[in-house]
């Protein structure tokens, strides 16, 4: 096929106004119904998505607090263990350390 023949084919294939107008009929009614339906269906999903950054921040803060608290607990535990050991030894030996 040469360029002229291809151009002829394109000209013949361009859609007519009549076809387009027929397809448009009632379109905005269908569209607005779909927009309203999607708005009504998933308000909880929209809220969940909006709140998720705040939720993730809370989770991160709790995680940081848990790690920090565990470190303090280990220090406290070590100190308590030492104090308990000292008291035990003093009780057995009768001598103060």
């Amino acid at each position: 096929m040469n360029d002229e023949e291809l151009d002829q084919l394109f000209r013949a294939a361009r859609p007519t106004d009549e076809t387009i107008v027929r397809r448009e009929f009632g379109f905005e009614t269908r569209l607005m119904a779909r927009i309203r339906a999607s708005r009504d269906e998933t308000p909880w999903l929209a809220w969940a998505l909006r709140l998720s950054p705040a939720f993730l921040s809370v989770v991160a803060a709790c995680g940081w607090w848990a790690v920090a608290a565990e470190k303090d607990l280990r220090v406290y535990s070590a100190q308590s263990d030492s104090a308990t050991a000292v008291a035990f030894i003093e009780a057995i030996t009768g001598k103060s350390i």
Binding site: L6, A12, A13, P15, E24, R34, I35
Partner: protein, 177 residues
């Protein structure tokens, strides 16, 4: 005394403020152009309707991005082209599905419905990018500069793709002497 119809920018603002009827009016004003565009990319009425619904839903969700520096119609056309491109990428046919002969080619020139059918099959063998460019250039009759503005591609890129698409179509639709 008749009041002038609100401008597109006013309807956009009204829609953002919660007035659905304002958006319905925008759709009424611009649907013909979007249907005309979609009709060049899709074969049947259901697909055309789906593409147009997608165009206007994307427009509705992104109305706040419309700044009013260019006409609403240009902003909507860019959304339309992106929606048509996405449609082409999802619906690309396999290259070996087209089977044409000289008699088919001759009939197509004389009969518009047949021409559309034939072209639809041939265009289906192109890549989504080539098909988008050739459709905008030959069926929408847009210039390379306009296509570049709509797609975000360079003019050089548009011309190369258009040339390649034409060469490919001529090969697929070749005449038997």
């Amino acid at each position: 005394m008749e009041t002038a119809a609100p401008a597109d920018a006013e309807l956009v603002k009204s829609t953002i403020d919660g007035n659905d009827d304002a958006f319905a009016e925008l759709v009424r004003r611009h649907k013909h152009r979007m249907f005309a565009m979609a009709s060049r990319f899709a074969h049947d009425a259901t697909q055309v309707d789906d593409i147009c619904q997608e165009i206007f839903i994307r427009a509705f969700r992104n109305l706040r991005e419309f700044r009013g520096e260019a006409p609403f119609e240009h902003w909507l056309a860019r959304i339309g082209v992106r929606a048509c491109y996405d449609f082409l990428r999802k619906n690309r046919r396999r290259r070996d599905e087209v089977a044409l002969d000289a008699a088919t080619n001759e009939i197509a020139i004389e009969q518009p419905n047949f021409a559309r059918e034939l072209l639809h099959h041939a265009l289906g063998t192109l890549s989504a990018e080539e098909r988008l460019v050739i459709t905008l250039a030959e069926l929408e009759e847009r210039s390379a500069a306009e296509i570049a503005a709509l797609t975000g591609w360079s003019e050089a890129n548009v011309r190369v793709r258009s040339h390649r698409a034409r060469q490919h179509l001529k090969k697929i639709l070749h005449w038997h002497e």
